[in-house]
């Protein structure tokens, strides 16, 4: 009984937030999505969304978000694991986050310089003997910079999950003759799955609506739903269409949450 009361108490600020800053904006977005560019009530935006242009864009957004998440995970997991083995692990972890506090636009400009034809990356390639090539405005540079931006968000929850692992569990597995790989697959990974899941959500969901980098690093070679929304709000001033795409993004997110929901609980 007391439990309920305290729960309701903690709930107050959070529920207020949900109502004011989540439900209200969703309502606004939904409302706008039913108006065409001239301000008449219509379903034209929804119709427009199902044209090849937007469907293709949706597909490519998902594809890039998937790649970004996967690559972030591939690099973040070992990094997080190795960080837990270092001496001043909390300090190193903080130092992973610090670069993300430098302004994003400036970092993007730096990457334009680094990946340019006469930039550092190409000098490096030439030194190794591969020879310089076009890096900027390719899928590679786009995904690289996107992973660069998102990776701290992936490392953090995985680090937290790994850090609390009881070393005796591992020792036990080793004593039982499990190989390193088996120990990882059967013991470590399942125990850190919540961290991995949370990391994937924190990366995949915003990666879907990525913009800016699509222009700065990919030179508009990559067009995502986020870019389209940005354009509709800020260039065409077609808030209706922008809102419609946002509605689909929100639906997509609900769907992802449904897929990754936790099924088992209460051991």
């Amino acid at each position: 009984m007391g439990n309920k009361l305290t729960r309701n108490l903690y709930m107050i600020p959070y529920s207020l937030w949900i109502v004011l800053f989540v439900i209200a904006p969703i309502m606004l977005v939904l409302y706008y999505s039913f108006f065409d560019i001239e301000g008449n009530f219509s379903l034209i935006n929804y119709q427009k969304f199902f044209t090849p242009v937007y469907l293709k864009m949706t597909l490519s957004s998902f594809w890039y978000a998937f790649l970004i998440t996967l690559i972030s995970l591939l690099f973040a997991y070992p990094t997080a694991y190795l960080l837990t083995k270092t001496k001043h692990k909390q300090l190193w972890l903080l130092l992973i986050i610090v670069p993300s506090w430098v302004n994003l636009l400036l970092k993007a400009y730096a990457f334009i310089g680094i990946f340019g034809q006469y930039g550092m990356a190409n000098s490096l390639l030439e030194m190794i003997g591969i020879g310089s090539r076009q890096i900027l405005f390719t899928d590679f540079s786009f995904i690289f910079v996107a992973v660069y931006i998102f990776i701290p968000f992936m490392i953090l929850p995985i680090f937290n999950a790994l850090n609390e692992l009881n070393p005796s569990l591992l020792d036990a597995a080793n004593d039982l003759g499990a190989s390193k790989w088996t120990a990882f697959r059967r013991v470590i990974f399942p125990l850190t799955i919540d961290g991995v899941k949370s990391g994937c959500q924190i990366v995949f969901i915003p990666a879907l609506s990525l913009f800016m980098l699509t222009r700065l690093i990919a030179g508009n070679r990559v067009i995502t739903l986020g870019t389209a929304i940005e354009q509709h709000f800020l260039v065409t001033q077609d808030w209706g269409m922008g809102a419609t795409i946002a509605v689909f993004l929100i639906i997509a997110m609900f769907f992802i949450m449904f897929l990754t929901r936790d099924r088992k609980r209460g051991v």
Binding site: R7, Y10, P13, Y14, L20, F21, V22, A24, P25, I26, L28, V29, T79, L82, K87, L91, W92, L94, L95, I96, I97, V98, P99, S100, W101, N103, L104, L105, L106, K107, A110, G113, I114, Y148, L156, P157, N160, E164, D194, S198, Q201, I202, I205, F211, G226, I229, F233, G242, A246, L249, I250, A252, M253, F254, M257, F258, R261, D262, R265, G266
Partner: protein, 266 residues
């Protein structure tokens, strides 16, 4: 205790850190360029730094940015932790619904969040400026805190709480002596990521700010049309060095004080 890390492991970590810091060193390097752009390094100069220290307007903007980031992350962390606690206490279905709602702001592009917050604030008659920016930053940082705290709560075995209750601990004691210590790493992660969100945000702040209040991102983005001058690089360099120093000092202070507590929890 610690397994020794192998050389390959060390090289791997070194490369990760090198990549993370390369663009920042690139920016700092050009802050000493007398040439005026980030392309050709002509000669060494400290002019950009001198210019920077005479620019009081920019200095106020930096302070604004820091205050907003700190306060919004602190408040968002508190609300987010309570949010995570209450989501955790719910049954499965309700939990999933709440969590999906929680993520709406993460998936919504900044322009949409910004525009809808602007409509909201003007509708509610809130004067645009410090408070509207602070409120918005709190609002978009909460979901990230929840997402980082929740996995720690899920890991926590329910028997821990039950045991404490059996021993006669009050709810408050269960919270402060058992639950919060357990989820502390998640809370820290949430706080630092909220800081990141706040410091990086341009679009939302742009829409909800006004009456002379500005943050660094808004300033930098609006400089883009005329070309970003190198004193912004110099500014980033100064902020970066100060941040690194603060992080290190902070780390060793907390290390010291926690030593005194002697390892009940390591």
């Amino acid at each position: 205790m610690h397994h020794k890390s192998t050389p390959t492991a060390k090289i791997f970590l070194f490369i990760i850190f090198a990549i993370l810091y390369t663009p920042i060193f690139f920016l700092i390097f050009y802050s000493f360029n007398s040439g005026g752009t980030m392309s050709h390094f002509e000669g060494f100069t400290l002019d950009w730094y001198k210019e920077l220290f005479h620019d009081t307007r920019l200095f106020i903007i930096v302070l604004n940015t820091l205050v907003i980031a700190l306060l919004s992350s602190l408040i968002a962390t508190i609300i987010g932790v309570f949010g995570a606690l209450s989501i955790h206490a719910y049954k499965k279905r309700m939990k999933n619904t709440l969590l999906s709602l929680n993520n709406v702001l993460i998936v919504s592009p900044d322009v949409i969040i910004g525009a809808s917050f602007l409509i909201l604030f003007t509708f509610a008659g809130i004067k645009l400026g410090f408070y509207s920016v602070l409120l918005s930053h709190i609002a978009f940082s909460i979901p990230i805190v929840v997402l980082l705290v929740l996995p720690k709560l899920m890991e926590m075995s329910p028997s821990l709480v039950d045991a404490a209750k059996d021993l006669g601990a009050s709810n408050w004691n269960v919270l402060t002596k058992v639950v919060l210590p357990y989820i502390t790493p998640g809370i820290f992660a949430g706080f630092f990521m909220a800081l990141t969100y706040s410091l990086d945000d341009f679009a939302v702040t742009f829409f909800v700010t006004g009456n002379g209040f500005s943050t660094l991102s808004v300033e930098i983005y609006s400089l883009a049309r005329q070309g970003i001058s190198l004193n912004i690089n110099a500014l980033s360099a100064v902020l970066f060095v100060v941040t690194i120093l603060l992080v290190i000092v902070y780390y060793f202070i907390t290390q010291r004080t926690n030593m005194k507590g002697v390892g009940i929890r390591k």
